[in-house]
């Protein structure tokens, strides 16, 4: 696919000379999206009364409709938030959970999710049930069986699980997990922070109780734009986590205005989706997934280590490679040194007692990026820099 790779890199806002192998944390935006963003932003700043009172109420409908169509959901059930933290806080803190409730989650859940659950335990005595996923469990059937075991034997109120986990990064079997939730009458929350733009999400087909996804990670929008989806039955129950002037006027209004902010930012959702449509979502996913796999395998070869999971079908455009060093602090120091000296940032994390790096791929990446990242990091690790 020669439209992608080196040719397209100059169309992106990426610091000159920076080798990016971590698209996934925050995303990088195309120059055309940024240009449009500056136009929207200037329009907002030039007349915020007009923008917020006349234009924005119309824009939010258009933005939510675009997102809803992209995710195959009903737009009345799609709300605009700034990020996954706002979305998840809004859900969990408004379900009226008490000490009679239990939240089920995996050990690989994102720290924000785990912290919010901890907050509920500390403040409201809500119980938690954590499924430990060790390396040997990282297989679809094992994940499902561990999950069902808990649903069968414990009284679970809510289960939250990733669409694609962050650290380590793997595709989770969400369709089956949602079906299990229905079978055992458990509320399902899908953390699809990694979702829009890198997964073909079909919410009508998946039918979860809740799902939230970032548009700035993989859908080429600037930070932070997030869509929160919820089933109709929750529309009167959930409130935006920040209580503001629209409290009580319906969740859509509450999310539209939860305090003064840059109201022009969410318009970029439309621009990001248009950018995806230009190239085709399936084409983008294929290129990114194939390159992430190829790139990570090359890293493993250069480091003489291995991938965390050897099944390609469990991977999105992020793959985890073992770092050839036991000391987590040292790996982190090397991460910083490598960044400062070689202008490449590698995600490093500890999992199941070993240190791993997560490599991501997007349209502007090529295999040479992973070769460069691997060699530079190894140099630093060996003290040879």
């Amino acid at each position: 696919m020669n439209t992608f790779g080196q040719n397209i890199k100059e169309d992106f806002i990426i610091e000159n000379g920076f080798v990016c192998v971590n698209h996934s944390s925050f995303g990088f935006v195309p120059k055309e999206v940024f240009q449009q963003r500056i136009q929207h932003y200037t329009k907002f700043l030039q007349n915020p009364d007009r923008f917020t009172k006349i234009d924005y109420p119309k824009y939010t409908i258009e933005i939510r409709k675009t997102a809803a169509e992209f995710l195959n959901a009903d737009f009345n059930q799609c709300m605009l938030t700034s990020n996954s933290a706002e979305a998840f806080n809004s859900i969990i803190r408004n379900l009226g959970l008490t000490e009679n409730d239990t939240i089920l989650y995996f050990s690989t859940a994102y720290p924000m999710v785990q912290n919010t659950i901890q907050f509920m335990t500390s403040n409201y005595n809500v119980k938690q049930n954590r499924i430990e996923l060790k390396r040997q469990h990282l297989e679809k059937q094992k994940i499902l069986s561990l999950f069902e075991e808990q649903l069968k034997t414990q009284k679970i109120t809510i289960a939250v699980f990733d669409n694609i986990s962050a650290q380590p990064s793997l595709i989770m079997p969400i369709k089956e997990l949602i079906s299990l939730c229905k079978k055992y009458n458990v509320i399902s929350i899908v953390d699809a922070a990694h979702g829009a733009g890198i997964t073909v999400l079909d919410i009508k087909d998946l039918d979860p109780d809740f799902l939230f996804t970032n548009f700035n990670k993989w859908a080429f929008c600037p930070s932070g734009i997030n869509i929160l989806y919820l089933k109709e039955q929750y529309l009167n129950k959930i409130h935006h986590n920040t209580i503001s002037v629209q409290y009580g006027n319906g969740l859509a209004k509450e999310c539209e205005f939860s305090g003064t902010k840059d109201f022009s930012l969410s318009l970029s959702l439309i621009d990001g989706v248009n950018f995806i449509k230009k190239y085709g979502l399936n084409q983008i996913i294929k290129y990114s997934e194939d390159l992430a796999w190829e790139g990570a395998n090359l890293v493993a070869q250069i480091w003489q280590t291995e991938l965390l999971v050897n099944d390609k079908s469990m991977h999105s455009a992020m793959v985890n490679v073992k770092i050839p060093h036991q000391d987590q602090n040292y790996c982190r120091e090397c991460q910083k040194k490598c960044f400062e000296k070689y202008n490449v940032f590698l995600v490093v994390f500890k999992y199941d007692d070993l240190n791993w790096s997560r490599l991501s791929a997007s349209l502007y990446n090529t295999i040479s990026d992973y070769e460069y990242a691997a060699r530079c990091y190894l140099k630093v690790l060996k003290g040879e820099e």
Partner: protein, 386 residues
């Protein structure tokens, strides 16, 4: 060469061409130089977000907090940035462990967001609410303070909230005396200084409230939207950012530095906004804006043949309220819309004590003609009845 305040300064601002702005206060308008810097900062963030979020913001955020803290005469260790007053207020109230044994005291002129937070606490945690009803004739410092004290004396109040400068209607509130009353009756004091930085001389060390929050985008020439939350040291281990995220439990400084993916490069504009103020001098800015808001509103009242809500100039900041010569508020709202669409001027209108009022704001790019224009166009629209 520093320009004079007024018309000639308008071209230095990001304001829609041909637009007459008499409502600086809702969102604020920014100088072109601040926008230019903002876009550069935003670009720096977007072109290498790993670098920006992980390495640069932890270094630069304390510097920005120090600048803002110095501007408000506070200790920077007690100052944190949020996106807006709603986030600040929610973070405070929802972490004070209030229950049905507690009572929150506030005025009927408190901002709707504040009143809704109280309502939320009442609905969800059975926290009691004590609302002081003020009418037009009560809008005097002595009466306001007397009513506050009366309630603190006769009821067990846990927390009390007061505006620095209220929104609708807009008047200056006696915050110093309020904080003293709170101390006297052992009440936690929260000052809603949404209207504060850049239009008041705020001295937090002297004022000494338990909590204070202020927008930097309304009057301190920052882009929408940045808010500063201040609290006494004793609360640093108790208050959490209302959005629980990856730094929950890592200390309030970290919780406010990152609480979910967002464009945190906006806080860098705080320094640009404060530098812009220092160019002219805060006192000079306040004086110009307060004088013009007063003069402009008196002119409006003359053209409309009505009156000001409060006739004491000392009770006003750079926002003044004028009686609208019409009784039907729905009709007035329609006229507001028509006036906006047809004559390119937005007049803030609101209901208070059974009547409809307009609120006029003044900033350093405004001049008297703006208020003459706004008054004449609005009355033209108003009179086209039926």
């Amino acid at each position: 060469m520093i320009k004079n305040f007024g018309k000639e300064l308008k071209e230095d601002f990001v304001i829609e061409s041909g637009y007459t702005c008499v409502n600086h206060s809702s969102f604020g308008y920014i100088p072109k130089c601040v926008l230019k810097q903002r876009i550069e900062n935003q670009l720096r963030f977007l072109q290498n977000p790993d670098s920006f979020i992980r390495y640069q913001i932890p270094k630069e955020s304390p510097i920005v907090r120090k600048t803002a803290a110095e501007f408000l005469n506070a200790n920077f260790n007690q100052c944190f940035f949020s996106s807006n007053s709603a986030e600040s207020m929610n973070s405070i109230i929802q972490n004070l462990r209030l229950s049905d044994k507690d009572t929150i005291l506030y005025l009927n002129i408190a901002y709707p967001m504040v009143q809704n937070v109280v309502k939320y606490m009442n609905t969800n945690h059975k926290v009691n609410a004590c609302r002081i009803e003020l009418k037009v004739e009560d809008l005097k410092n002595e009466i306001i303070l007397q009513q506050i004290e009366e309630n603190m004396k006769t009821k067990k109040i846990t927390v009390a909230i007061l505006d620095n400068i209220s929104s609708l209607p807009s008047i200056k509130l006696p915050t110093k005396e309020f904080v003293e009353l709170c101390k006297k009756y052992d009440v936690i004091s929260i000052i809603d200084g949404a209207h504060g930085a850049g239009i008041s001389e705020i001295n937090l060390k002297e004022l000494d409230p338990d909590f204070f929050f202020t927008n930097l985008n309304k009057w301190a020439f920052c882009p929408c939207s940045v808010n500063l939350l201040y609290m006494k040291e004793k609360y640093l281990n108790q208050i959490h950012n209302n959005t629980i995220s990856v730094f929950y439990g890592a200390g309030i400084e970290k919780e406010f530095e990152y609480y979910g993916t967002r464009d945190s490069s906006v806080i860098l504009s705080v320094i640009d906004g404060i530098n812009y103020i220092n160019q002219f001098g805060l006192k000079q800015i306040i004086q110009y804006c307060e004088e013009l808001a007063w003069e402009g509103s008196e002119l409006v009242a003359k053209i409309w043949e009505t009156e000001l809500l409060v006739k004491d100039k000392t009770m006003h900041s750079a926002m003044v309220n004028v009686l609208i010569p019409h009784k039907d508020h729905s009709y007035i709202l329609e006229c507001q819309k028509t006036c906006f669409e047809k004559y390119n001027v937005f007049v803030v209108v609101f209901e208070f004590d059974g009547r409809s009022w307009a609120r006029f704001s003044a900033s350093i790019y405004n001049c008297l003609e703006d208020y003459e224009y706004a008054a004449k166009q609005f009355i033209n629209v108003l009179k086209k009845e039926g």
